[in-house]
């Protein structure tokens, strides 16, 4: 190995220390990035925005649930998250809308921001591996997302228990935790996407706009386009045979699921509403004779397993691309 020959020339102690210290570098960068995130005004603004929308939608949901019939008392805790008030959408809707923004806001200047300020070449001329820089940046932001999400989820759930006075079952708590974990994965997807953009584009404004454009595309236009394409391929009218209608729906759903936003919203609905039994179209004959009831947690998970895998895989692939590009990037001062 190269280090063997060089250690003859220089003191061996430094050589040995180097191997030992690589994880310390990661920790140093992680700590610094974490502090940066928490102290940034950008994060504070978004956090309070979500906090306020969460509180408002939570209040509306509690009002709604209080007025519900006694027979509706199962799964009260998760209903707080999914139940809409009279004029307000539910908490899950707010999180699915604002979550990507949090992810994007954290990552869009992760790399080009440092390059523009001239800190990147100074950072990389320190004896550290480049891996530590990109990993530290990513892990710190992921940690912030996790802390934020669990704090928020815990806050809403805790207030819910307090105000409704209904103790949650173990399954409810597990469902809630899974939902929060899913939300972290979804935000992490937008985080790595914006980090990739911050590597590809030199200007922070460009990478921010790129991220927002993709967010709009996936959240709004892909579901719209999916419907249009499906209607063009399988035109449906009143006289259409059932099979065409079925194909239309399946194509539409398949296309819409290309968007992580669709995957996330389907998965979160399934996790938080045990009465969701299927995500695809249901024929009348399939539904007839079915006993209405709640799906056990295992079955709910099985239903959204492909969604989870897809979201995690997409996040990992984008992170791998970012990682590779960053390691090969030319550093021009």
């Amino acid at each position: 190995m190269a280090s063997a020959s060089s250690s003859i020339k220089n003191d061996e102690g430094i050589e040995k220390k180097a191997k030992h210290y690589t994880s310390a570098n990661l920790a140093t960068i992680f700590k610094k990035e974490l502090a940066d995130q928490f102290s940034s005004s950008r994060f504070t603004i978004l956090f309070f925005l979500i906090m306020i929308t969460g509180a408002v939608s939570f209040y509306a949901a509690v009002q709604n649930i209080s007025g519900a019939s006694a027979g509706d008392s199962e799964f009260v805790l998760v209903k707080i998250f999914t139940r809409a008030g009279n004029s307000l959408p539910p908490f899950t809707w707010f999180l699915s809308l604002l979550g990507p923004l949090v992810g994007l806001s954290m990552g869009f200047d992760a790399i080009n921001g440092e390059q523009n300020r001239g800190t990147m070449s100074r950072l990389l001329s320190q004896p550290i591996y480049r891996d530590d820089v990109i990993n530290g940046k990513f892990l710190a932001r992921l940690a912030v997302l996790a802390i934020m999400t669990f704090a928020l989820g815990g806050f809403v759930a805790g207030m819910g228990i307090l105000l409704t006075g209904v103790a949650p079952s173990a399954e409810e708590i597990v469902r809630l935790l899974l939902y929060l974990a899913l939300s972290i994965v979804y935000m992490a997807f937008w985080l790595v996407l914006s980090m990739l953009f911050s590597l590809l584009f030199r200007q922070t404004a460009t990478s921010a706009l790129g991220g927002i454009a993709l967010w709009l595309l996936f959240s709004i236009f892909v579901p719209l386009l999916a419907g249009m394409v499906a209607d063009a391929v399988f035109p449906v009218s009143d006289q259409s045979p059932a099979i065409t209608q079925l194909y239309n729906i399946e194509l539409k759903q398949g296309l819409a699921r290309l968007s992580p936003a669709t995957l996330y919203s389907e998965a979160s609905v399934t996790l938080l509403s045990p009465d969701v039994r299927t995500l695809g179209p249901v024929l009348a004959e399939q539904a007839s004779g079915a006993i209405m009831g709640f799906l056990p947690l295992g079955q709910s998970l099985l239903l959204i397993w492909p969604h989870l895998t897809g979201l995690i895989a997409a996040t990992l692939i984008i992170f791998a691309a970012t990682y590779t590009l960053f390691l090969r990037q030319e550093i021009r001062a």
Binding site: S3, Q126, P127
Partner: protein
């Protein structure tokens, strides 16, 4: 070829597409010397430095920094080399001290040792009072001085400074250069300074290399360099009456290569120092009145400018390179 110096490159080449940023560079910098890498913008100075730091891979050629190959042992190189990039940046929301603390941690200098070293460096660069102010309030000169502290924090054997005096007022530049001189002379560090400001840098450099369009076109002590560059191109200014006969008289002297009229003076090309007394004698012999005679010497700045301009005319691709920056 052997790598003798503490910094040494052999046929180092870097191309970006069609553009050759560094062209077969052979550079030897000895331990403990202050070397100035001088050249116009876009000459490839920064590219060379980035290759020395292992931040950019050379297209071909080999290099050694402190005995290490930056392509393979980049971490070892970074451990012994302090690098101050041009347009050095700090984290604006952190104080000067916090910025240095971060660098210290990345270099595994911890605890009391780090605090003590940071304090002594801050005092040394004259930032002790501003240490706990946020960097965004710093002036350009203060940032640059913080950069010096940042570079010295890891106690490097080699210090590389890219355009350290750029954008500084003369007073701040002088202070910075004094610090650089101390690093080299008092602490025995090897210092490589890249700059396009020869006049500012020359006072601190032991040796300079003039770098144009990726090539080292001259190298050595400034005094020798000036002598070498100006030898053979001395011009003699002569003003004498009657004018009509002057040209004939001068041309009759052996050793005169060419003459040229400039205003009311005649410029004589040739070895000025030897020619001057002979021409004077000749004019006296012809009973002509000599009013003015002077050997026109180039000062350093002239030489430097002449060199660069000459090169730019010869190789007009240089403007392309500047674009890249």
């Amino acid at each position: 070829m052997e790598h003798d110096g503490i910094i040494s490159t052999v046929d180092l080449t870097k191309t970006y597409g069609d553009i050759t940023a560094v062209d077969h560079l052979n550079l030897e910098i000895n331990k403990g010397e202050i070397f100035g890498l001088l050249g116009p913008n876009g000459a490839g100075k920064t590219t060379t430095i980035l290759m020395l730091m292992g931040l950019t891979e050379p297209t071909s050629g080999s290099l050694r920094v402190g005995g290490y190959d930056p392509m393979r042992d980049a971490l070892d190189v970074k451990r012994i080399v302090g690098y101050m990039p041009d347009n050095i940046g700090f984290y604006d929301d952190m104080t000067g001290r916090e910025n240095l603390r971060y660098t210290a941690e990345l270099n595994h200098i911890c605890g009391m040792e780090a605090e003590a070293r940071i304090q002594s460096l801050l005092e040394r660069v004259g930032l002790a009072e501003a240490a706990d102010r946020k960097v965004k309030e710093y002036s350009r000169g203060m940032r640059q001085r913080l950069g010096v502290a940042d570079v010295l924090l890891k106690d490097p054997k080699i210090v590389i400074l890219d355009e350290p005096t750029l954008g500084l007022d003369p007073e701040a530049a002088k202070e910075l250069l004094d610090m650089i001189r101390d690093m080299g002379r008092k602490e025995g560090k090897t210092v490589l300074i890249s700059s396009h400001l020869l006049l500012q840098i020359q006072s601190v450099c032991d040796r300079v290399g003039i770098f144009v369009k990726g090539k080292l076109i001259a190298e050595g002590k400034i005094k020798d360099l000036a002598a070498r560059l100006s030898s053979g191109c001395n011009v003699l200014e002569i003003k004498a009456e009657p004018r009509e006969q002057l040209d004939d008289a001068v041309k009759s002297v052996a050793g005169v290569e060419d003459t040229e009229v400039e205003g009311d003076m005649l410029l004589v090309k040739g070895d000025g120092e030897n020619l001057a007394p002979r021409i004077a004698t000749e004019l006296a012999a012809r009973n002509m009145a000599l009013y003015h005679m002077r050997i026109r010497e180039y000062n350093l700045d002239d030489i430097y400018r002449k060199y660069f301009q000459g090169e730019e005319v010869k190789q007009n691709g240089i403007s392309k390179l500047q674009h890249k920056k």
